[in-house]
Amino acid sequence: MSQRRVAITGLGLISPYGGDLPDFFARLLAGESAVHFLRTDDIPRPLTIPFVSSPNFDVDGVLGRPLASTMDRFAQLGTAAAFAAWADAGLTRGQPAENRENWGVAWGTALGGTLAYEKGYRELWQKGRERVSPLSVILGMNNAANAHISIQLGLGGVSMSHTVACASSAIAIGEAFRRVRSGEAPVMLTGGSDAPQAYGVARAWEALRVMATGDETTSPQACRPFSADRNGLVLGEGGAALVLEDWDHALARGATILAEMVGYGTSCDHSHLVRPEATGQERALNAALADGGLCIADVDYVNAHGTATAEGDPVEVAALKLVFGEQAGRLAVSATKSMHGHLLGAAGAIEAIVTVMALREQSIPPTAHLQEIEPACLGVDHVTSARRDVPVRAALSNSFAFGGSNAVLAFRAVAR
């Protein structure tokens, strides 16, 4: 079967700013941070961390109380984001006119229903109860989000979840891309969601000593990728979804094509669980370029993984320099985690959306709070402090996970 072109026809997310997709991207372009200070009521030691939430997310309004009752937070965020992407693509829910038995879902989540499990632990060990809610399994299972999405949208093809730490949804998008490109599925709903505010999860991340610190005043500026004074990542909850569609299928139904997805590259550092390797990332970058038929001169923007950790940022820049060589200096790079935080299993998806929007709007959002670039992060063209309105023909989105799993997605702009 000949390879199909893959159109992106729908984008949807639960915005950390509380508004819609255009509002989300406008705020990123303006360099506005969604990070706030979170203080929980946990006893004896509350969480006191910079965090990114989903304000104004009306769970019952979007999903309805009965459906929402059968979901953990990550599945609620994911399903709502999927609904938004579906509507953006001009597709209908329920009783579709066409057969959707080979349309599928590929979803990313690093944590799954952690809040449900944690609730169970509290019941058992804190309250001394002997048992937990009968819904615990279906709330907690990692494939809950994609299962709900398939059921709600009536999609009879593959429904799969990918758990690859911070690369979960980038891998999900890549695998969805392959299904469409091969002709196996004319439409794939893909993306990711996570809700890492479970007490034990947040404490575990703290123990790794990679979390940024901050208070009521400083939290909005807590995440400073590539900056000389960076001090770690900021976790956030969220959900983000894309509709990938066979190009001809999209044209035939008169859909708006937002961008073209052209390539997907993966690799494993095969060296260390948490210390990244530039050569491993280089392989994923080269694989995505080759897969997409792109040369380095075609790429105008990279949405970096850029978590603002001491280890990660210099290695990512080193990998970009290995791939782009003498052209690295003209390569626009930004890390939007500085504003929307690190959404773990949703990170690859929300950053894919940012990348598609940059191609769509021909405008690149900055790395916020980047005043003085860490010397080890020099060598690429960092987009700092303000949006950059320049031609963006092709762009990459990087996701580099603990475990050494790397995924790079490649997109091309389409004429509006």
């Binding site: 019952d60 309805g64 109380r65 009965p66 009752s69 059968t70 048992r131 809610s133 009968p134 819904l135 279906i138």
Partner: protein, 78 residues
């Protein structure tokens, strides 16, 4: 709390069902109680009333049947 009150509270909280719709002859599945939600409802009864439901208990079809069953079990196990 009476059994009917518990069912009304549960259905309002979990499924957004108005209490005045939860009447004796109302079908539980019509109110949105599927097999999973039935498990959760029975769990709630066990929890709140301190009763034990056997695993092979036949699921009631209506609100009235549920109330009668729960009242009977409460009486037997009190």
């Amino acid at each position: 709390m009476e059994s009917l009150g518990l069912i009304r509270e549960f259905l309002q909280d979990r499924l957004g069902v108005a209490p005045d719709l939860v009447v004796s002859d109302a079908q539980l599945d019509t109110l949105g109680v599927d097999s999973l939600m039935m498990l959760e409802l029975m769990f709630e009864f066990e929890d709140r009333f301190g009763i034990t439901l056997s695993k092979d208990l036949k699921s009631p079809q209506t609100v009235g049947e549920m109330v009668a069953l729960m009242d009977q079990l409460r009486s037997e196990q009190s």
